[in-house]
């Protein structure tokens, strides 16, 4: 008798395992996440951790529309063509309801074009190019992170407050660098027409000859410098420029230079006094921003990077849009993005219906050293909504792209 019961329960368990589990697995809402996990491991890694933390929280609270939310992570090797192929697979075979991801702008643009053609919804989480929501914007693409223009305009506002009129720029020689310089010039000239740009340096991305760049900028004798280099290029530029005294007595404005991804590797050589956009995670002492930092540090025993924050907010945005749409249908999700409010660690943001750009802003502050590490002081969070182009200009840009 006992044996029989045992056998019965075994058969029963097997049946549940055979029938129940796949049924459970099918009953999740899947999101296709495409990124350059290997090519840009230092950036995509923390981003993924942020996503996973948010997923855990969302699913512990019952998921979305009563179903667990699941992300399918895929590596595109940093190649746009590969990303397009993977996007097709995620949407047609894996049953993803929408796409998200990418850091590199060109990959983001490739997926965005596919999204418009095949009517897939794509939330561009991290790529910065203005084109994604402006000149190449389309009905199916939305962007979370503040664009190049928005961040450059925030720095230009700071720059306009000083007496400096002679500016030198240094930016990696590719689309992001060019956009960032053009945006800074445009915003600064609008605020202060008398500025002149006396040197423009364009090192090849990740192949900077920092000594020569420092000499070239010094030769132009600028009052202030605008830096767009990042990663290894930034480290080299900071060291060569610092050694040669390039930054002495000059204001330096650094786009993204204050983000932990870029500032942490500099250690105690973080360039004090630079005015930058970044993420002062250690200085945020209250509110939902602190809750996020604490939860992240408790979970991973490491501090969040800006990527972690964006990853976390990506999940929050997706949850919000799905709840509002009440459906996983592409058209419903797309419609629900219009003026979608999301409350996040940086505060309440909104996906603008004009250009599908979220109003996520950026932290702007001055680099200071604290316990041998770079951090931001006198920082403020600037709302992205205040640093975009006027609506007419945006409409004109979007019109020309389609």
């Amino acid at each position: 008798m006992k044996r029989k019961t045992f056998l019965k329960s075994l058969v029963g368990a097997a049946a549940i395992a055979a029938v129940g589990l796949p049924a459970l697995a099918e009953d999740t809402i899947k999101i296709g996440e495409i990124n350059h996990y290997k090519r840009l491991a230092a950036f995509a890694g923390p981003y993924k951790l942020g996503i996973e933390m948010a997923l855990e929280e969302v699913n512990a609270a019952g998921g979305v529309m009563g179903k667990p939310l699941e992300f399918i992570f895929r590596d595109d090797q940093g190649k746009p063509g590969e990303a397009v192929k993977i996007a097709e697979e995620l949407m047609t075979r894996e049953g993803a309801v929408m796409l998200t991801g990418t850091i590199l702008s060109n990959v983001g643009l490739a997926i965005s074009s596919l999204a418009a053609e095949k009517k897939y919804v794509y939330l561009a989480s991290e790529p910065l190019a203005d084109a994604i929501t402006w000149s190449k914007g389309n009905d199916y693409t939305f962007r979370l992170r503040s664009s190049t223009y928005m961040q450059a305009a925030m720095l230009a506002e700071e720059a306009a407050k000083t007496d400096a009129t002679r500016y030198a720029t240094i930016a990696p020689n590719y689309a992001y660098g060019k956009d960032a310089v053009a945006a800074f010039k445009k915003a600064l000239t609008k605020l202060k027409p008398e500025v002149e740009f006396v040197a423009e340096q364009w090192p090849a991305l990740f192949k900077i000859d920092a000594g020569a760049e420092a000499q070239a900028i010094e030769r132009a004798k600028p009052d202030a410098i605008y830096n767009v280099t990042f990663g290894g290029d930034l480290a080299k530029f900071v060291r060569e420029g610092g050694t040669r005294g390039l930054f002495e007595g000059r204001n330096v404005y650094g786009l993204l230079s204050g983000e932990p991804e870029y500032m942490d590797p500099l250690g105690d050589e973080a360039p004090e006094g630079w005015i930058v956009t970044g993420y002062p995670w250690s200085e945020i002492t209250e509110g939902s921003g602190r809750v996020f930092v604490d939860a992240y540090m408790a979970k991973y025993d490491d501090h969040p990077r800006i990527g972690s924050l964006v990853g976390y907010m990506t999940v929050q945005s997706i949850v919000a849009v799905l709840e509002k749409a009440g459906s996983t249908d592409s058209e419903a999700i797309r419609a629900a993005f219009a003026d979608l409010p999301v409350s996040t660690p940086v505060g309440d943001i909104k996906f603008r219906s004009q250009d599908h750009q979220a109003t996520m802003g950026a932290y702007v502050g001055t680099i200071a050293l604290k316990d041998g590490k770079g951090t931001l002081e006198n920082w403020v969070y600037k709302d992205g909504a205040d640093y975009t182009l006027p609506d007419e200009e945006v409409m004109q840009l979007r019109g020309s792209g389609n």
Binding site: R93, S112, S113, A116, A204, A210, G211, T243, G245, D264
Partner: protein
């Protein structure tokens, strides 16, 4: 004047690490004839290993000891790689080893990520050399001066080793004629291993010595690769003084480029290389490649013949299956097969040049990407319909190939290969830099097929017809009189000339034809993806094709197609794993060792052994 001197000094300091890495590459090539793509990886390892030593060894002594230890450790890693990966394939067809080194790159990338993590490291400053010295009022970092002083010592030590010691004599002898050295009783295997150790140690040293000027990151390997190849080629493959002069030339010119022509940073190096090679086809200090190889390496190539009955049956069955696929497969499998078919045509066009023409092009992406950009630009600016764009794409790519080929075909061997690479890079930098017209690296988007072909299934059939048609045309050409002439020019240019074949002309036409075929693949690619970006013109793209041609089998007609299908298929599966680069690298190395004749060649041999198909000479 002060600034001028300071600029020269900056250039000289930059030349230091570049020289060390490049001289190692040059040495390895000179003796073993291996084009070591993994050399950048050894440079990266040098930086990471040196960084780790510097964390534990204190002070000035520790700093310099760390640099030496980094060189030593990386040299030992080089020995391991040489013995495990390269020794088994020395007898394989020329340049086959570069596929193995490509596998090594992937393995080292993932292992480095595993060991050191994803974060960049900023190199420690050299103790005692942190400040600057003012020379005529201009600041010059002390460490720069140390590097400038150090490099001649390294160069001198190398020179002494090569010219004054017995080992050096053997190395030089092997550079000239390694078979003769072997015949005289020198153990070649250990000579090769020794040279590989030295070359890798130099790369490691270069990686460690640049730490105070930069650091260690995971992108270093590819970032330095093109620069060291350029230096080695400008200096002359195998020449140490050449490598030094070229490293200084490139570095100093680069400093002036940065100062007076800031936009030049992408193209300058390649412009210099093209100019040097046009006037000195073997580099500044290189010599014409002497007839070191007595005939071909490995077993002699068999004459080609049309496919046998069995092979034709297999192909027909395969084609029918592909034709019926949309009835059973889901839409993603069609997307995947479309991708693979396009890549196979691209690979087959390179195989035509490489296998039949013996023309090793390192820059074939120029014609693939060229065709793609031609189509994309036509659609974007002229509103050209897809059908016309697909016809014009191969024309544009073919024309590009004819122009580039006209210059490149003046050279032979590795110099030819490097010149094709330089032209591909120039085209890339043109597209990259000319953002107003080409979209720069934001590319051109929204280029989708015409209405009738926009469905996945229809486009699948379109791609299949064009790709298979192109592949069959390439194969048919191989059997035509033109194909015979091309092989004649490859096997013995002199005899071919004597029979009245204008070998240069034949090769030139073949170059244009292969370019046009790659252009068809590029045109299809852009319509299948809806967008195009400069990375389709990059070195990495050229290498993709190169790898699959070798992997498939250079000496078989089907090599390009078989390799392309196998690798693209494998990649689609493997990239789903977290450490896919490690897996893919190991897989490539595994195939290289197991199948030194390439996949198609080795399969054929096995099939013959078990009697599935007959050997031609028995037939």
């Amino acid at each position: 004047m002060g600034l001028f001197i300071a600029q020269i000094l900056t250039g000289l300091a930059n030349a230091s690490a570049l020289f060390m890495v490049a001289s190692g590459l040059s040495l390895i090539f000179g003796v073993t004839r291996i084009v070591n793509f993994a050399h950048g990886s050894f440079y990266m390892l040098g930086a990471y290993v040196g960084y780790s030593f510097m964390q534990v060894l204190p002070g000035g002594f520790g700093f310099w000891a760390s640099i030496l230890l980094a060189g030593l450790v990386v040299g030992i890693i080089g020995i391991i790689v040489e013995m495990l990966v390269l020794r088994p394939v020395y007898k394989a067809p020329e340049l086959f080893q570069l596929v193995a080194t490509f596998g090594v790159i992937l393995v080292i990338q993932d292992l480095t990520l595993l060991v050191w993590g994803a974060d960049d490291f900023l190199g420690p400053r050299a103790p005692g050399l942190k400040g600057i010295i003012r020379i005529m009022g201009e600041p010059v970092p002390k460490y720069d001066l140390a590097l400038i002083a150090l490099t001649p010592f390294v160069a001198f030590a190398l020179w002494w080793l090569i010219t004054k010691t017995r080992t050096g004599i053997l190395v030089r002898a092997a550079t000239q004629d390694r078979e003769m050295v072997g015949a005289l009783g020198v153990n070649q295997a250990w000579l090769f291993t020794g040279v590989f150790f030295l070359g890798c140690a130099l790369a490691g040293l270069g990686g460690a010595v640049q730490l105070p000027k930069g650091g260690a990151d995971l992108l270093m390997d590819f970032n330095i690769l093109s620069a060291i190849f350029v230096v080695v080629v400008i200096g002359g493959m195998g020449s140490l003084p050449g490598a030094y002069v070229a490293a200084v030339l490139i570095s100093v010119l680069n400093v002036f480029g940065v100062n007076y022509l800031p936009q030049s940073t992408l193209a300058l190096m390649f412009v210099v290389m093209v100019v040097v090679l046009i006037f000195r086809p073997f580099g500044l200090f290189g010599r014409e490649e002497v007839a070191g190889e007595h005939g071909q390496v490995g077993e002699p190539e068999r004459p080609i013949k049309p496919a046998g009955q069995t092979a034709r049956m297999i192909v027909v069955v395969g084609l029918v299956l592909l034709g019926l696929l949309p009835l059973v497969g889901d839409s993603f499998i069609l997307v995947l097969i479309t991708d693979i078919a396009i890549f196979c045509l691209f690979a087959a066009s390179l195989h035509f040049l490489l296998g039949l023409g013996g023309l090793v092009s390192f820059g074939h992406a120029a014609y693939f990407g060229g065709g793609a950009y031609a189509a994309a630009l036509l659609v974007t600016y002229a509103g050209t319909p897809m059908e016309l764009a697909l016809i014009l794409a191969p024309l544009a790519a073919g024309l590009t190939a004819i122009i580039f080929g006209w210059v490149c075909l003046r050279l032979t061997g590795v110099y030819f290969a490097m010149l094709t690479l330089a032209f591909a890079q120039l085209l890339w930098s043109l597209v990259f830099q000319w953002g107003d017209f080409t979209g720069g690296d934001d590319g051109l988007v929204d280029i989708w097929p015409s209405e009738w072909a926009s469905g996945t299934t229809t486009f699948y059939y379109l791609a299949l017809v064009l790709c298979i048609g192109g592949i069959i045309l390439l194969r048919h050409t191989a059997h035509s009189p033109f194909g015979y002439a091309l092989r004649g020019a490859r096997d013995s240019a002199r005899q071919a000339e004597a029979t009245g074949i204008n070998t240069k002309h034949v090769q030139w036409v073949a170059f244009g034809f292969a370019g046009a075929m790659a252009g068809i693949a590029g045109g299809l690619f852009v319509f299948s993806k809806g967008s195009i970006f400069p990375n389709e013109l990059e070195i990495a793209r050229s290498f993709d094709a190169l790898i699959v041609v070798f992997l498939g089998g250079v000496k078989t007609l089907a090599g390009g197609v078989v390799g392309g299908a196998a690798l693209e298929g494998a990649k689609d599966y493997i990239t789903r794993f977290e450490y896919w680069r490690l897996l893919l690298g190991l897989l490539i190395i595994f195939v290289v060792i197991l199948a030194p004749d390439g996949i198609a060649g080795t399969l054929r041999k096995w099939a013959e052994r078990i009697g599935f198909i007959k050997r031609e000479d028995q037939a």
